[in-house]
């Protein structure tokens, strides 16, 4: 163990005494992630605000006489131009296509008369048609708002006029106060959002951290000839391997904590309200322990995966090429869980490495991970990690791999 301790100490010293490396590995990515998400958040909220405050340009053809009163009554804001039946709407439609005009509303000719003349089933019912451009945010919003606020209100007014008592139509209400009917475990609701995002983030961040550090620490040292000097020391090769993996694991954990925290902070700004949802998540001590154990095992596995590539590669460029498919594999494993949230998984799925890490973390966050599932996950991850460690030690003993002999 003397060797392991010394190597870990040296590796950590190497990173933390190098100011440039610390900035590049830990500080810069964290700051960049936060800035990126904050800018995205700002832009999105700015866009939403802009759409909200935009006064839509609307053309209405054949508007019934009482229609403008409805618009005023509901307080709908818009630059409204009324058209007569014989005026052409081609130019307006062109304007909608170009994004200059937001909405065209066309009432059937004799709209009001048709409604007034209605006596029995089968009599004609007039129509209001709206023309808009779904590719334009302003137009899209104008159509939605105009339909909901103005046309629906107008419909209600006319219904009341025809029937006298509109309650006849209502028959019964459904959820007059929808908020009062919500029964939810706040932990689970908050967890659900996290459960979708966090396994993905943890996986990606861990692997990315391992990738950046591992290639330099192993392939780089091999290339520079500094690994060979360690191979000459009277310690077991397995101690060198273990020392390398542990130090990489520590550094990876630090970087992934920084990345994850910056992503979470960034996303809070991005989504605004989610901060509350996240704060609502509470873990039991057992869950925290489970999460901790799982992350430790995952870190070790990813570091080992990167290390085995790094050992076999002759130079860092080659290592970079080999490690990319692994990165995609890890991404795939975690993306799969993003879109399958909530469904129950058979126990055998918890034996599939990488994927099992994601689903286990996901279920843990919504409080549905059983001890058996946890055990199978950690067990299968550990078996693979140990297998890879053995392979790495073998590679360290191979003169062909170490000395290109």
């Amino acid at each position: 163990m003397r060797g392991v301790k010394n190597i870990v100490k040296k590796e950590l010293t190497r990173v933390f005494t190098d100011r440039k490396l610390v900035i590049n590995l830990f500080i810069l990515p964290g700051v960049l992630i936060m800035v990126m998400y904050s800018i995205m958040g700002n832009l999105i909220s700015k866009m939403e605000k802009d759409i909200q405050t935009h006064v839509p340009t609307i053309y209405i053809q054949n508007a019934p006489e009482d229609f403008s009163r409805v618009i005023d009554a509901v307080g709908f804001e818009g630059k409204i131009t009324y058209l007569k039946a014989d005026e052409s709407t081609d130019g307006i439609k062109d304007g909608i296509l170009k994004g200059d005009i937001d909405l065209l509303v066309v009432f059937d000719e004799g709209f009001r008369e048709t409604i007034n003349n209605y006596k029995q089933a089968g009599d004609p019912i007039p129509e209001v048609r709206t023309f808009y451009n779904p590719a334009e945010d302003y137009s899209n919003a104008a159509k939605g708002n105009f339909t909901a606020d103005v046309l629906y209100a107008y419909q209600q007014v006319l219904l009341a006029e025809r029937l006298g008592n509109i309650e006849q139509l209502q028959v019964f209400y459904i959820d007059r106060d929808p908020e009062a009917g919500v029964i939810v475990d706040k932990n689970k609701a908050g967890g659900k959002f996290l459960a979708m995002l966090l396994p993905f983030l943890i996986n990606i961040m861990l692997f990315q951290g391992a990738m950046g550090l591992g290639l330099d620490s192993i392939t780089g040292e091999k290339e520079r000839g500094t690994l060979a000097s360690m191979l000459l020391s009277p310690i077991k090769r397995s101690e060198i391997v273990f020392g390398k993996l542990v130090s990489l694991g520590i550094l990876t954990s630090i970087s992934s904590v920084i990345y994850t925290v910056s992503v979470v902070i960034g996303i809070q700004r991005l989504a605004g309200g989610t901060a509350e949802a996240m704060a609502g998540v509470k873990f039991t001590p057992v869950q925290i322990l489970q999460l901790f154990v799982m992350i430790i095992v995952l870190v070790y596995l990813y570091v080992a995966m990167v290390a085995i590539v790094a050992v076999y590669a002759r130079n860092q460029k080659e290592a970079g090429t080999y490690v990319t498919p692994m990165y995609i594999l890890v991404m795939l494993g975690s993306i799969l869980t993003m879109f399958s949230s909530g469904s129950e998984k058979a126990l055998k799925y918890y034996a599939i490495p990488i994927y099992n890490g994601s689903i286990a973390i996901q279920n843990l966050l919504v409080g549905e991970l059983t001890m058996v599932e946890f055990g199978v996950t950690v067990g299968s991850l550990a078996v693979v990690a140990l297998l890879i460690t053995t392979l790495i030690t073998k590679a360290f003993n191979s003169e062909r791999i170490m000395f290109n002999a």
Binding site: R14, T17, G225, A228, P234, K236, E399, R400, F403
Partner: protein, 258 residues
Amino acid sequence: MIQINELTKVYKLTKKQMMEKKTKKNMVKAVDNLSLTAKPGEIYGLLGPNGAGKTTVLRCVASLLKPTGGDIKVNGFDTVKDSQNVRKVIGFLTNEIKLDPQFSPRYMFGFFGRLHGLDEDAIEERREKLFDYFGIKDFQDKKIEELSSGMKQKASLAVSLVHDPDVIIFDEPTNGLDIITARNVTDYLKLLRDEGKTVIISTHIMTEAEKLCDRIGIIISGVLAMEGTLAEILERTSTKELEDAFFELYKMHSREED
């Protein structure tokens, strides 16, 4: 004491290497049935042209490579079965094995001292002695990447001797050094010999072999062509200089190969 007994080392070539060397054979015999003994209190020099197999022999002795045939004993320890004990008693220096450029000579010295199981006091004592001798103290706290190649070589030398090894293996010890530093190194090797250590070096510099080595083994195409003291070699080849002796042997062996 180093005992090499019928050492053979065969390298397998990959398809790419075969193409590069324009050969259809997928094996290269780097060392062929080579036996020699280097005793305590002497400097043994392996003399040979580039690619003769000198480095391969030394790497096998240092337990970095495994012999394809034969065996090597270092102070009685087998380099394959007991490699960890072999690494405890040897100090190995070669150009291809380097110190971490981000650390200072002082840090590397301590690191390898600890890997060898020395305590801090012992490391400090060895550091004082070796850094003083090689004049490393002035730059002991500078990063190795900032040092000149001569300084780097000195630092590597000191680090490889941190554990006061009984057997010293140096692959081309003066390669790339200026005259003063080279002299410093060869003088230290003599000092080690006088302390009763076993020293084996490889070189392609005739004068170095003449001046430094107590016994010389001339190695050509992986075969030990001749072995003995300088006087013995000159006598057996009927020549006056080592260089002439070397060419005689080289011609003979080239003819044999054809």
